[in-house]
């Protein structure tokens, strides 16, 4: 197992912007079995921008565990005519990315980039990527997505965003950030707990639990207008919001009729219908990608386990049977498996289970690992972990091979959730 300590320096170049708050260090553990050798030449034109973009692209590709970065070692072609293929074949590179970047009069950053197949000596991608003033990282993530998609056949997730809660003493912040943890934006900051952020399918809203009214209540907030509304604020606890895939319904857990049970409502809080009737704890609902069933956590059998029930209501089926307890189930994007937290022998594991075979597999070695969620391409899983006495964010590839830790600057990172493709 190789261990690379990779500190992102790109952020230093952006100290004058608000994006600079998120100084993260990222630790990558393990590697994919078949890493594709690629060379990314820092773009020409505005060289400072070129280097900053290069930092983001190479960081993204490294973290995926699927690529081996081959140093351009002094060669810096920016146009196809400047590429001498034997130079790259000698280095063992299979794909070469080159390009130029410039800032337009209106402040937009435009990168024109190409990716070349070094072996076949053909162009794989030729595309211009642009973003607004200062959004260097967005350009880098988009280019990394294009490279990833072309070389792996899967959609990239580098341009997606994540949400999590940062706890610092008694202060809680709800944060939205790029998938690499950079470009943090504070959605809500208060000295009462915040829990369970949940993305609307179009990425425009977050539902979450806030204790600002003295108890757990569910809020929905627009990430564009920042307008927010308490959509479930009944006696007791209101929590665990989950969006239906069409964005027209929220599943929410409430105790207004007794124990924690699952209800459906519109995202504005209207048209409330109870759909679970166990009298036990039923919580953490998660819709299947087809919108027809829900996974949830229940202790109706004596210990917390994962169950599945039709959204239309009806009998629930128990899915987890391993020793210990299981919590926080979430469907894979293809609906074929689910990821969850398995507590066994005092350790929390991130585990996946196949619906068809019922086979369960632990993806992590166990420790303090909670609240997993899939990246929208199903290839990575984001979860809350702990290292050096602090709550951190971590990812593991869905085959368990590549793990990475993301350290936020201070405080405990909790309750992460991966957002959708935008």
């Amino acid at each position: 197992m190789q261990k690379i300590l990779f500190t992102v320096l790109g952020v230093l170049m952006l100290l004058h912007t608000s994006m600079a708050r998120a100084a993260l260090s990222i630790e990558i553990i393990g590697a994919g079995e078949h890493q594709i050798p690629v060379s990314i030449v820092p773009f020409g034109g505005d060289e400072k921008l070129g280097l900053a973009i290069n930092e983001v692209v190479t960081g993204d590709l490294l973290r995926s565990g699927l690529f081996r970065l081959v140093d351009p070692a002094g060669k810096s072609p920016h146009e196809v005519a400047e590429v001498h293929y034997p130079d790259w074949q000698v280095r063992g590179t299979e794909a070469l990315a080159i390009g130029t970047v410039s800032t337009q009069a209106d402040g937009r950053i435009v990168a024109r980039f190409r990716m070349l197949d070094v072996v076949k000596q053909v162009e794989l991608i030729g595309q211009a990527v642009s973003a607004g003033d200062g959004q260097i990282r967005a350009v880098g993530h988009r280019i990394a997505d294009l490279i990833y998609e072309k070389l792996t056949g899967n959609k990239g997730v580098f341009s997606t965003r994540i949400a999590y809660v940062n706890r610092q003493g008694k202060m809680f912040s709800l944060i939205v950030a790029d998938s690499d943890g950079h470009n943090e934006q504070i959605v809500l900051k208060q000295n009462e707990p915040i829990m369970s952020p949940s993305w609307s399918p179009d990425g425009s809203h977050l539902a979450y639990v806030s204790f600002e009214t003295g108890h757990a209540a569910v809020f929905v907030q627009s990430l564009y207008t920042h307008q927010r509304k308490a959509v479930a604020n009944f006696r007791g606890s209101n929590s665990a919001p989950a969006w239906s895939p069409d964005g027209k319904q929220l599943a929410v857990v409430m105790t207004r009729d007794g124990s924690s049970q699952i209800y459906l409502m519109r995202p504005d809080g209207g048209d409330i219908r109870r759909i679970s009737f166990s009298g036990a704890i039923d919580t953490e609902p998660n819709f299947s990608p087809d919108g027809l069933s829900l996974l949830f956590t229940s202790d109706r059998g004596g210990s917390a386990q994962v169950y599945r029930m039709p959204v239309a209501g009806g009998a629930a089926q128990r899915l987890t049977f391993a020793a210990g307890s299981s919590y926080s189930p979430r469907h894979s994007p293809d609906g074929k498996s689910f990821v969850f937290t398995h507590l066994s022998g005092g350790r929390f594991y991130i585990s996946v289970q196949d619906f068809q075979t019922g086979q369960m597999e632990a993806l992590t070695e166990g420790g303090w690992e909670k609240k997993p969620s899939f990246a929208p391409n199903g290839k990575l899983i984001l979860f809350a972990s702990e290292a050096r006495g602090r709550g951190i964010l971590a990812t593991v590839s869905s085959d368990g091979r590549v793990k990475q830790h993301m350290f936020t600057q201070s405080g405990d990172a909790r309750e992460p959730v991966w957002g959708p493709h935008l």
């Binding site: 369970s196 124990s259 919590y327």
Partner: protein
């Protein structure tokens, strides 16, 4: 500590004087205390104070206990804590103006959402016992903080056992 107790007693006496003037004449049964006053004035005034004090503010009363503790993943009030809950039920039934909020908490094991539900079940369990013991529903409210507001922040049983708790939080 002693000073604090005395000042609480005084405050309560003053409060009693201020709010219960019409009842002063009915407070006659305190006669034995007055007769004792003849022989030992100091003791007598102490006894008088004691009868007037709100037992909720008496640190020697069972009512001074405001927390119920649980084993892991359990929400039922344990036998050891039942007398405490029953004493609070009796107090609430005799003091209809007092309101109490039950605040359920959990240790950090389990998911945050499961623990929120478990904390609510703990608080609701105490609430139900108080109601069965004579408290009125209108005097009671319950919330859960799950694992979000730990009293002890360590990651071992000595901290966890303090965090698996329902607090009885009386409104001032």
């Amino acid at each position: 500590m002693k000073k604090l107790v005395i000042s609480i007693v005084l405050v309560n006496l003053l409060a009693a004087c201020a709010s219960q003037k019409p009842n002063e004449t009915t407070a006659v049964p305190a006669a034995p205390a007055t007769s004792a006053a003849a022989t030992a004035p100091a003791t007598a005034s102490a006894v008088a104070a004691k009868t007037a004090v709100d037992p909720l503010n008496d640190p020697t009363s069972i009512l001074a206990g405001r927390s119920v503790y649980y084993p892991f993943d359990v929400a039922a009030v344990q036998d050891a804590d039942k007398p405490l809950v029953q004493a609070h039920a009796e107090y609430l039934s005799k003091n209809a103006a007092r309101n109490v909020r039950l605040e359920g908490n959990c240790d950090e094991r389990g998911s945050n959402e499961y623990n929120l539900a478990l904390g609510q079940r703990r608080a609701d369990g105490v609430m139900k016992m108080l109601e069965l013991g004579g408290a009125k529903a209108a005097q009671l409210d319950s919330v859960s903080y799950g694992e979000e507001k730990p009293k002890a922040t360590g990651h071992e049983e000595s901290s966890w056992s303090q965090n698996r708790r329902t607090d009885l939080n009386y409104a001032k």
